[in-house]
Each structure stands twice: as structure tokens, then as C-alpha cells.
Amino acid sequence: MKQRTVCRHPALVTPGAILARSISRAGGGVLLAAGAELDAEKLAHLHQRGVDLVFIAEDDPRQPAAIASEIAAAEAHVAQIFAGESSDSRDELGRAILSYRRTQAA
């Protein structure tokens, strides 16, 4: 099954999730490598070490048509909230949000 990567606080991760990106130590080096299974003990350990974000891989059961529809909805929503007065930095922010939402929806 296709997978996608999502970012979560360790407190909101269900044990059994698979780490999608390695977690580095503050001083360099890998604390936990991508592919590791995050059981409850590992999650508590990460939290104790001050790690407040992890990227995990989630199964994505959506069909291509559903993905295309979500991308279109995300694009329409961004266009709607960014309607109105513009400025260089606001336009640049709008483009960054659009790209982020497209990636998320895909």
C-alpha cells in the first residue's frame, strides 16, 4: 500500500507507528533511525529527551481519483482564504502554502 509521511507530537502517535525520518541527537548522530517501530516505551523515551516532533509513515489507502479530488479541494481552499488584498510577501506566503497543501494532499 502507498504510504505518506505525517508530522506528530510523540504524545499523539499511536504505538506501532513506523518512523519515516531519522531523529538526530542535539550534538549530532542518530538517536533513532528511520524505519524503527515506535512502541510506547520508545515514544516516552523520546518525549523525556525533549523530542517534541516525529515524522511517521502512515498507510494511504486512497485511490488516485480521491487524491486528485483532495488536491483540487486544497487548491480551491487556499485560493479562497488568500482572496483579496495582496502584497509581495503575502503572495509569496500564498505560493508556499499552496505548494505545502498540494504535497500534503498527494
Partner: protein, 283 residues
């Protein structure tokens, strides 16, 4: 009907809001104090049952509960050690403020605090980039709209009229408030923060968080809160009904050195931290 208020007149009626909780003042006084330890914090917090409950809830949240040597965290001291001092301060300030400052319908206090939590989450991430104090930025973000609650407390009917006027005329909130009330929530909130003896940096940021006339706000922290507010709308944090991304000052972005295509790497972090804060605070 137009109401003509002045900032001074509003502040004379500041008792329309409850006093700032003492625990918030104590925490804000220790923000820059590296020597503030778990013991001191525990003493301050132990008499605040709502805060203790939130901290224990955060320490036992999700998968974290039940994995402290096989036991749930049951004491405040254990919770402080597990969560870390920074996170404890953050949860304490947010809980004390959100529980103390509410408003009756039709004012949407829940929506205001959800939005403020989103602005605080964005402000922290931007403060890291700007090399400013993260906890001070989060506090300024959390309190940036406190002036709205005061204006509603002082003139509830006129304030709701200002919110409706804003919708009807598609204005930004500052323009609508000035038109209907003669003052705006940023001015009033900044002065209220001074009255409460909050750090001047925080008061200036609250007062300056709306860019006026195409110019940026007056302090670096005000730039952070201004940009954080726009970003929170852009990321749709709190899913505000009828959300519109407000005007964004080019000057503020330039002063903070923000390049949005680079900063986009922070978007998932902001969303994840906001979601965790929302769940922790029960919003």
C-alpha cells in the same frame, strides 16, 4: 450607532475583565531566570488545581502514560520532571489565562483562544528564526488579542456591532473597531498589558501586531506576532469560520529575514505543535 471610546476610558473600566492570574505574573517574571527550577515552579503551581490537572494530563497523554517505570505520573513534581520546565511554563500560562478570561456568547471566546494558541505556535517558530526569546514570543502570541475581550467586556453590544460591521463591509478588524468604537483592540490590549505590568516587550508587541498603513509594527517582537498572526490564518490553525488571510507587511517579513519558500519546512512542525497544545489545553 457609533460609540466614541478612548483608550483611557476603556482602561478605567479594565475591571470589566478579571485580574491577571498571579501565577502568570510569577511565571513571566521567571521567563528569563535560568535558575528557576522544578522545586520553585512546583511551589507556585501546587495551589492551582486546574493547572495541576492539565500538567498531569499532559504528562500522561497518549503513549506517554504508563511508561514511567510502569506507573502513571501522579505527582506534580514527576510531571514537571517529565515535561521539562519550558513546557510546564507554557502549559501553566496558557491554562491560567484561558480559564480566567472567558466571555459570554455571542462573543466566541473559544474561537479567540484557539486562534491565539495558533498565533503562539507560529510565533515560537518565527522567534527561533529571528533569534528572539521563544517563551516571550509565545506569551505575546497568546495574549495578542486580549484587547478584544476587554472591548467586549466594556461595550458588549457595540463590540458585536463592530464584528458584524467588519463582516458586512469586508474590512479588517482594526478598521471596523475604529469605525464603530473609536479605538482598536491592539491599542487597548497593549495598554492593558502595561497596566498588568507585563514585560514592555510583550506590551509593545500586542500594541503593534497589526501593520498600519502599509508600514510594519514598531518592534521586532511586534513583527513576530504580526507575521505569526497572518501565518496562523494561512495555515488555517483553529479552522476559523470564514477564514481570510489578513494583510501582511513586507517590511516585517524583510526585517525578520523570512523567505517563505524556505520557511515552509516549518509548516508541519507548527501544525503538529499546535495540535498537541490544543489537545493538552482541552480546546
Amino acid at each position: 450607532m457609533r460609540t466614541r471610546l478612548t483608550v483611557e476610558a476603556v482602561l478605567q473600566r479594565a475591571d470589566a475583565l478579571p485580574a491577571l492570574p498571579q501565577i502568570v505574573t510569577l511565571i513571566l517574571d521567571t521567563l528569563a531566570d535560568e535558575s528557576a527550577n522544578a522545586e520553585t515552579l512546583s511551589e507556585h503551581i501546587s495551589g492551582e488545581p486546574a493547572i495541576v490537572a492539565r500538567l498531569l494530563g499532559a504528562a500522561n497523554a497518549g503513549a506517554l502514560g504508563g511508561h514511567q517505570g510502569g506507573h502513571h505520573v501522579q505527582s506534580l513534581r514527576q510531571a514537571i520532571l517529565l515535561l521539562g520546565i519550558g513546557r510546564v511554563k507554557e502549559i501553566t500560562v496558557a491554562t491560567a489565562i484561558i480559564e480566567r478570561f472567558t466571555a459570554k456568547p455571542p462573543f466566541d471566546a473559544h474561537g479567540l483562544w484557539l486562534h491565539s494558541l495558533g498565533v503562539a505556535a507560529c510565533a515560537k517558530e518565527i522567534a527561533i528564526l529571528a533569534e528572539l526569546d521563544v517563551e516571550v514570543a509565545a506569551t505575546a502570541g497568546l495574549l495578542h488579542d486580549i484587547g478584544q475581550l476587554l472591548l467586549f467586556g466594556v461595550e458588549p453590544i457595540a463590540y458585536i456591532e463592530a464584528l458584524n460591521y467588519r463582516k458586512q463591509h469586508k474590512l479588517d478588524i482594526i478598521a471596523a473597531e475604529r469605525e464603530i468604537l473609536g479605538v482598536d483592540h491592539a491599542q487597548v490590549g497593549g495598554e492593558l498589558a502595561r497596566l498588568w505590568h507585563l514585560p514592555p516587550l510583550v506590551a509593545d508587541a500586542i500594541a503593534g501586531h497589526h501593520a498600519a498603513d502599509g508600514l510594519g509594527p514598531a518592534s521586532e517582537l511586534a513583527d513576530v506576532v504580526h507575521v505569526a498572526e497572518v501565518l496562523s490564518h494561512a495555515l488555517d490553525l483553529g479552522r476559523v469560520e470564514g477564514n481570510q488571510v489578513p494583510r501582511l507587511s513586507d517590511l516585517s517579513c524583510a526585517r525578520l529575514g523570512i523567505d517563505w519558500s524556505d520557511f515552509a519546512d516549518h509548516f508541519p512542525h507548527i501544525e503538529a505543535r499546535f495540535e498537541n497544545a490544543r489537545v493538552t489545553l482541552g480546546l
